[in-house]
């Protein structure tokens, strides 16, 4: 029986997990199960029975027509266009480049400082250090802002099944580049210590340190750049509605994630912590128990999880 169940589960993987699809799966499974048990009653062996039941399953294409037609009808209007997704991914690629460049820049700055100090040019090194740091931090802040700006346009908009599939394809396509950049990045970080040993052989051990930072900078660049890009696709794969900021879900995303308890969750998020702070101040002022009243925050944290578990169904 498990074989049949697994078979059906696998075939249904490509469908979105809607009520309609769940029902179809359940119904078809029940028919197959009845069929299987009847065949066993007839004296067929387990293998024969499974074989026959599966051979009479039919085709997924037929179901797709039936089910997708049903899901298509109810697609919300604010769906993200394919064009917009590509634009988002391209924009994000640029921002990711800037961001990782900024971080690498900071590492290079340290390398430059140490390198020039060894040559006796501390002032020069310090100057260069601050200049590079300033530029790098500037780049990081700028790209960070671009990042959220890019997010906002799509926030809380519907991600269609097709778009989701497209994103999955793109992610698969990027997989290889991601692996390569991750492997090279990590290797460079690990190997970054080796210049120190190398230069030690020529008794210039300290020259190894700037080179180490140079290696680190490249390694870190590869890791951050690859990871951000790889993660971008998930924005279109994991959720039904685009989420710009996990802590500030839009109304649609909230509804999709928490279903009927979305309102409760919303209320809980808005009201709970301000109330706790009020209680904290009130309690502390009235009874002058500042010494231990902070404990309320520890307890409130636990209590919050309890409330969420009771009232908010994921």
């Amino acid at each position: 029986m498990d074989t049949i169940k697994n078979y059906v589960e696998t075939l249904f993987l490509e469908f979105p997990n809607t009520k309609e699809v769940q029902r179809a799966k359940q119904e078809i499974l029940t028919i197959m199960e009845d069929h299987y048990l009847a065949l066993l009653d007839e004296g067929k062996s387990e293998h024969e029975a499974i074989g026959q039941v599966i051979s009479e399953f039919g085709s997924v294409d037929e179901l797709r027509e039936e089910l997708e037609f049903a899901t298509r009808e109810r697609e919300p209007e604010n769906g993200i266009e394919e064009e917009e997704m590509y634009q988002y991914l391209n924009e994000r690629k640029k921002d990711a480049k800037g961001l990782s460049l900024g971080v690498s820049g900071c590492l290079l700055a340290v390398g430059a400082l140490i390198g020039l100090s060894i040559r006796g040019a501390e002032m020069m090194g310090l100057l260069l250090f601050f200049v590079i740091i300033a530029i790098s931090v500037g780049i990081i802040i700028y790209n960070g802002m671009q990042f959220s700006k890019n997010n906002v346009v799509l926030n809380d908009r519907y991600i269609s099944v097709d778009l989701n599939k497209e994103a999955q394809k793109l992610k698969q396509g990027y997989q290889k580049s991601f692996q390569v950049s991750l492997v090279f990045g990590i290797c460079l970080c690990v190997l970054s210590v080796s210049p120190i040993f190398f230069f030690q052989m020529f008794t210039y051990a300290e020259y190894g340190i700037p080179v180490m930072f140079f290696f680190l900078a490249i390694g870190v660049f590869l890791i951050i750049y690859g990871s951000i890009n790889y993660g971008s696709f998930d924005k279109f794969i994991k959720e039904k509605y685009f989420i710009a900021d996990e802590d500030k879900l839009g109304p649609n995303a909230m509804q999709a994630k928490y279903g009927e308890s979305a309102r409760t969750k919303h209320l809980l998020e808005r009201v709970y912590w301000p109330t706790i702070v009020l209680i904290y101040f009130g309690w502390s002022y009235l009874t002058h128990s500042w010494g231990f009243s902070w404990i309320i925050f520890v307890m409130a944290g636990i209590f919050y999880s309890v409330l969420e578990a009771i009232f908010v169904k994921k």
Binding site: I28, F57, V60
Partner: protein
């Protein structure tokens, strides 16, 4: 065995005519089709479910949870008045179709 393409348009009427004799559930309907057709037509599970789904959406049948066997709830299907009328219409249409096609096939 009959090709499922050829009989596609008739799945709905076959199922409706079975339900006309009394409420039934998925597997029983597929068994009935197999028996009545003397194993010439074996309906695929996905075809059967698609038909149920379509018929229910059109209001020709309606489903309700039935008895529990093997620890599982079974969905039972019942033909509606609208379904009965639809079946009657289709029956007349079939008589005509049969006559016309027979003339070309020189069958009788």
């Amino acid at each position: 065995m009959i090709s499922s393409d050829g009989i596609r348009g008739y799945n709905d009427v076959i199922i409706l005519s079975i339900l006309k004799d009394g409420d039934s559930y998925g597997y029983a309907v597929s068994q009935k089709i197999r028996d009545v057709s003397e194993e010439v037509y074996i309906i695929k599970e996905t075809t059967l479910y698609s038909a149920f789904n379509r018929l229910e959406k059109n209001g020709y049948i309606h489903s309700y949870p039935g008895e529990v066997t093997h620890g599982k709830k079974r969905t039972y299907y019942q033909i509606t008045d609208k379904g009965l009328i639809f079946l009657e219409e289709k029956r007349d249409e079939w008589k005509q179709t049969k006559r016309v096609v027979n003339r070309f096939m020189k069958e009788g």
